[in-house]
């Protein structure tokens, strides 16, 4: 590779191409709904980036674009030859397959899974279910599980894909605090082991600080990156630690400003308008 070093994110690039790079990406729905406006964002290899923003600001839209499920109206998205796994905002499990069957299908499609036997895939699916604390639920149907359990199956399915980039859209929204903590630990461990690049959408600021190397704030209508907080706290972090709480409250303040700015009745309709007033 003779690609020039791109200083997209000063001080963060280390000579490698990032795993995911968005360059002035805009997305317009229909005729005039500007969901994303000139978004620039990159996720380095092995980096964990959390995305925060008000409801409807374009987070899911952004993930869909990165996953290649939709095309940007303008701008460029580069994911190189990375294999991408995605956890949707809803579980999106196949109702005609059992829980284990859903994961086995994902295993079967991966390059390393092509030559495995049904039995091997079954065993691997059982392992993955244990990782998300659902051992013993393999033979159930998705509709027999609770919402949070379904999300965990979706996580297991995403992990089964053995991707390089993991996109997660509010994956732990429906979980209790205890289970969420456990899954944070598991996710962090797997992220480290596999050197995954993660783009993680959440509404929970502490969760973002707990997990992310960076926390990126999106504004609403149009969605734009307004702030990028590096999180330098040593890992493993605890969601209820004072340091996490402190940074979370700083970010929350910034987020509140942004939401309030939008709540005001007479805001400028987007295009090109400055963010700060």
């Amino acid at each position: 590779m003779t690609a020039p070093i791109q200083e997209l994110r000063p001080g963060r690039t280390d000579g490698h191409e990032p795993a995911v790079r968005l360059d002035a990406v805009s997305k317009v729905y229909g005729r005039e709904l500007l969901a994303l406006d000139q978004v620039a964002l990159s996720v380095d290899r092995g980096e964990f980036v959390c995305l925060l923003g008000a409801s409807g600001c374009g987070k899911s839209t952004l993930l869909n674009l990165v996953a290649g499920l939709d095309r940007p109206t303008a701008g460029e998205i580069d994911t190189g030859d990375a294999r991408i796994a995605m956890m949707f905002q809803e579980p999106a499990l196949f109702p005609w397959l059992t829980v284990s069957g859903n994961i086995e299908l994902a295993l079967r499609v991966t390059s390393s899974g092509k030559n495995t036997t049904k039995k091997e895939r079954r065993a691997r699916a059982t392992e993955l279910l244990e990782i998300v604390h659902l051992g013993g639920f393999g033979d159930k149907r998705p509709h027999e599980l609770s919402g949070g359990m379904r999300q965990r199956v979706a996580l297991a399915r995403a992990l089964a894909q053995e991707a390089d980039v993991l996109l997660m859209d509010e994956p732990f929204g429906a979980l209790d605090a205890m289970t969420r903590d456990l899954l944070h630990d598991e996710l962090e461990r797997i992220w480290r082991e596999r050197e995954l690049s993660v783009l993680f959408v959440t509404h929970n600021v502490r969760e973002a600080v707990r997990l992310g190397d960076r926390v990126v704030l999106l504004s609403s209508r149009p969605g734009k990156v307004i702030e990028d907080f590096p999180v330098t706290l040593p890992r493993p972090r605890r969601t209820d630690s004072a340091e996490v709480a402190e940074l979370a409250s700083t970010i929350t303040d910034r987020l509140r400003q942004e939401v309030l700015r939008h709540a005001k009745p007479a805001t400028q309709p987007a295009a090109g308008a400055g963010i700060e007033k």
Partner: protein, 250 residues
């Protein structure tokens, strides 16, 4: 179910008692059920039933095959969809009896003529069931399949086909209803010599003014239609329960 049968029999008896038609034209339930009981003891009945069911199964099987191939092709190939999509729906509304003159011209008075019409009657519904199923595959499942790396045929096999199963099943159910109707019309119109069948028994009974026999045969036709329909209904219910699509609330 039982109360429905009792109700029908009671109304029937009342109509007979009212003297609306003389009893040799419209016999009461007792006479007809006695005739039915007699028939059920005769080997000729089973011979006729065998012939009719063989035709029904053959015709329906061919219709499923044709429906699957046409449905799959139309749902995947855009130009075919434009050309055939509404034609298939049009065919569905075509009364099958209108095909018989053509069928007889093609195949003379033979079993092929009957099967031809049965297939034409049932295949459009089956194809339409599949097409609707493919069209209404939940987009989120398509996206999930895409993310898993499934494309084209693999996506079709692992996501689209299974997702269209409920709709395909209702297509089959409707297809069966059309097949059974077409078959009875066919057996009344295309009488093949030395070949007993349920439809032919119906025609015989009319010629001999054997009203109890005629009504008894009609009951047989009705019961077969209902029983097969119930089988499809049961399959549909089982599928819905397995997938958590149960419509019942509370």
């Amino acid at each position: 179910m039982i109360s429905a049968i009792v109700l029908v029999l009671a109304i029937w008896e009342l109509v007979v008692l009212s003297g609306w038609r003389p009893e040799y034209v419209l016999p009461g339930p007792v006479a007809v059920l006695a005739d039915l009981w007699n028939r059920l003891g005769e080997p000729e009945f089973y011979e006729a039933l065998g012939v009719t069911m063989r035709r029904a199964i053959t015709g329906f099987a061919i219709a499923v095959l044709v429906g699957l191939v046409v449905g799959a092709a139309v749902s995947r190939v855009r130009p075919l969809r434009a050309a055939l999509g509404s034609l298939i729906t049009g065919l569905q509304t075509m009364p099958s009896i209108a095909w018989f003159p053509l069928a007889i011209l093609f195949f003379k008075l033979s079993e092929s003529a009957i099967l031809f019409v049965v297939v034409l009657g049932a295949a459009p519904s089956i194809a339409n069931g599949l097409i609707a199923g493919v069209d209404y595959t939940p987009p989120i499942l398509l996206r999930a399949g895409h993310i898993l790396g499934l494309r084209r045929l693999a996506l079709y096999r692992h996501v689209i086909l299974p997702a269209s199963l409920p709709s395909f099943l209702s297509g089959l159910k409707q297809g069966w209803a059309f097949a059974w109707r077409s078959l009875m019309a066919g057996e009344l119109l295309v009488i093949i010599a030395h070949q007993a069948s349920i439809g032919e028994q119906l025609d015989n009974a009319r010629e001999l003014s054997d009203s109890p026999g005629l009504l008894a045969t009609m009951i047989v036709i009705l019961v077969i239609g209902i029983v097969v329909d119930m089988c499809f209904g049961a399959a549909d219910n089982a599928l819905r329960r397995r997938w958590g699509l149960d419509q019942r609330v509370g």
